[in-house]
């Protein structure tokens, strides 16, 4: 695997506020890499330094083998950028924006087709200022993809979109990846990062506190799985012997089994079979990135 983005010891302050503090990571070719963290964590600052839109105070960045700080044309032709808070000329029409962007790059895809894919075809003659927030967002995604980039930056790509539009965009992102492109995105939606990202980096207060695949992070920080079991005559003792069990107790007639390890759930099932327990209900609860985040930071990402 080759690294498409290499960031080492990135630092950026605004006055006395350190927005990004000693952040290092790499993004590999063909993956979807997500930067997750709460509001003000430093996601946008990090991403815009990588895009070359902001200038870091310290550290080094390589994008497709080049320094993005120099505004290299070769680099700009190969990347696509969607900024979190962008604007266009108020009175520019949708098709004019796409047409303008098409002129800016040497190699482009069919703009009209792109608008269609993003559900903007019937808005092609609408002025930018008359688009809804979600439509603006989709237009910016179209502009980010117009030059058929090898590397796409998406900063909070589904903010302001309704659930259906969000799903459409997610499918588009997965299709970008299928075509062998690399995606670097930021989000504070855990569902989004679980659906899309191959690897995530957790950032808080400007520091990168964790990095890995969702499974790795869950195994590292929240390895417990919980099984809820309802049965005719259930007793906690039967299960206390199975490997990895951390807790077995009955609450309101339901047996709660907490255990660690990938094999825990199957051990529970084997135990049920062995003791011929007549199960009336069986549920498992897997921890997700949300739980990892809570564990790492002591608060939910939404606070």
């Amino acid at each position: 695997m080759t690294s498409v983005i290499l960031v080492s010891n990135l630092k950026k302050s605004y006055g006395s506020l350190t927005a990004v503090d000693d952040v290092s990571f790499s993004v590999e070719e063909g993956e979807i890499f997500g930067l997750i963290g709460p509001n003000g964590a430093g996601k946008t600052t990090t991403m815009e330094c990588v895009e070359g839109v902001r200038t870091p105070d310290a550290g080094s960045i390589q994008v497709l083998g080049r320094d993005p700080g120099t505004r290299s044309i070769h680099l700009q032709n190969r990347i696509g950028v969607q900024l979190q808070e962008a604007q266009l000329q108020k009175r520019i029409k949708v098709w004019e924006a796409v047409d303008l962007w098409t002129t800016l790059f040497p190699k482009t895809v069919d703009g009209e087709k792109l608008l269609e894919e993003l559900g903007l075809a019937e808005k092609r003659n609408t002025r930018f200022m008359n688009l809804s927030g979600g439509q603006k967002q989709r237009l910016f995604i179209a502009l980010a993809l117009i030059n058929d980039p090898e590397l796409v930056f998406l900063d909070e790509l589904t903010t302001g979109l309704d659930p259906q539009a969000r799903r459409t965009i997610w499918e588009m992102v997965l299709r970008i990846k299928e075509r062998g492109k690399t995606v670097f995105l930021t989000t504070h939606l855990m569902e989004e990062s679980e659906r899309l990202c191959d690897r995530v980096a957790v950032i808080e207060h400007g520091r990168l506190i964790e990095l890995g695949t969702a499974d790795e992070l869950i195994a590292r920080h929240c390895p417990e799985r919980t099984v809820f079991l309802s049965a005719a005559d259930v007793s906690a003792e039967v299960f206390s012997g199975i490997p990895g069990v951390a807790k077995a107790e009955i609450k309101d007639g339901v047996l709660h089994l907490v255990g660690v390890g990938a094999g825990f759930v199957s051990s529970v099932i084997e135990c049920i079979a062995e003791h011929r327990i007549r199960v009336t209900d069986f549920q498992t609860e897997m921890p997700n990135l949300e739980d990892v985040f809570l564990k790492l930071t002591g608060h939910s990402i939404r606070d």
Binding site: R71, I73, Q87, R91, L100, L104, P106, F140
Partner: protein, 246 residues
């Protein structure tokens, strides 16, 4: 070549956007022409038109249109910067000089329309007043406009918000106009101000346009031409370095 196609496309888009602006065409084309006609009418009764009307009024108009263009360039760029449009453009292969030039070209196109209308309107009021070499005068207008607009480049590159762009630009440019020799000769100024006036490209712009209007050749105003060209080169180079995207 890339820059040329960017410039052409962006200019065309910006002209369309400008014409969609309420008051866009009216404010920049119609109002100066009307003002010109009113002023011309005011002086018409005189048997021998004073020098100000016959020669300096057109130059006065040109200079004010150009300064209007500089100020509006500064304001537009400041608005684009404040609202994040420039930031979005930064992530594309567009050069800052292309962005600035686009607005210059848009303004020049409108200035040409304004001037053409004035020439048509003026014919009725000034007997035999058109310059002996109109093409030469027109080229002079282009040179002066581009050179003065490049000062606007620097202003537009660094002024942070639209709110400051207009007053800072106005104070600077109108002071330079007042000592440019348009209203009274430069040699009547105090010694120190004469130095400032002679360093100002506006003074040289007035000198060149006045000469061309009365039929002088370009060679007899070579200093003015040189100053205007140097001003253009220096200002463009500086603004490219100090251009702020956000």
């Amino acid at each position: 070549m890339r820059h040329v196609s960017h410039l052409t496309k962006l200019t065309w888009v910006e002209i369309k956007i400008f014409l969609r602006e309420p008051m866009g065409a009216i404010g920049t084309v119609l109002i100066p022409v009307i003002l010109f006609i009113v002023l011309a009418r005011f002086f018409r009764g005189e048997t021998r038109a004073p020098r100000f009307v016959s020669v300096d009024l057109p130059i006065f108009v040109v200079i004010f249109i150009v300064i209007g263009a500089v100020l509006s360039l500064t304001t537009i760029i400041a608005i684009y910067r404040e609202s994040g449009i420039l930031k979005r453009l930064k992530a594309t292969p567009l050069s800052p000089l292309v962005i600035l030039s686009t607005h210059v070209v848009v303004k020049l196109a409108l200035t040409s329309v304004t001037l053409a209308l004035m020439a048509v309107a003026g014919r009725r009021f000034y007997a035999g007043s058109p310059p002996p070499a109109p093409l030469s005068f027109f080229l002079g207008v282009i040179l002066v406009s581009v050179s003065l607009l490049s000062m606007g480049f620097i202003l537009a590159s660094v002024v942070r918000t639209a709110r400051f762009a207009q007053p800072i630009g106005s104070i600077l440019l109108y002071s330079l106009v007042s000592i440019s020799g348009l209203f009274f000769p430069v040699r009547d100024l105090p010694q120190g101000w004469q130095v400032v006036a002679l360093a100002s490209p506006i003074t040289h712009g007035v000198d060149l346009l006045r000469g061309l209007w009365t039929g002088d050749g370009w060679a007899s105003h070579w200093i003015a031409v040189l100053v205007l060209l140097a001003n253009l080169a220096i200002c463009s180079a500086i603004s490219k370095r100090v251009f702020r995207w956000e």
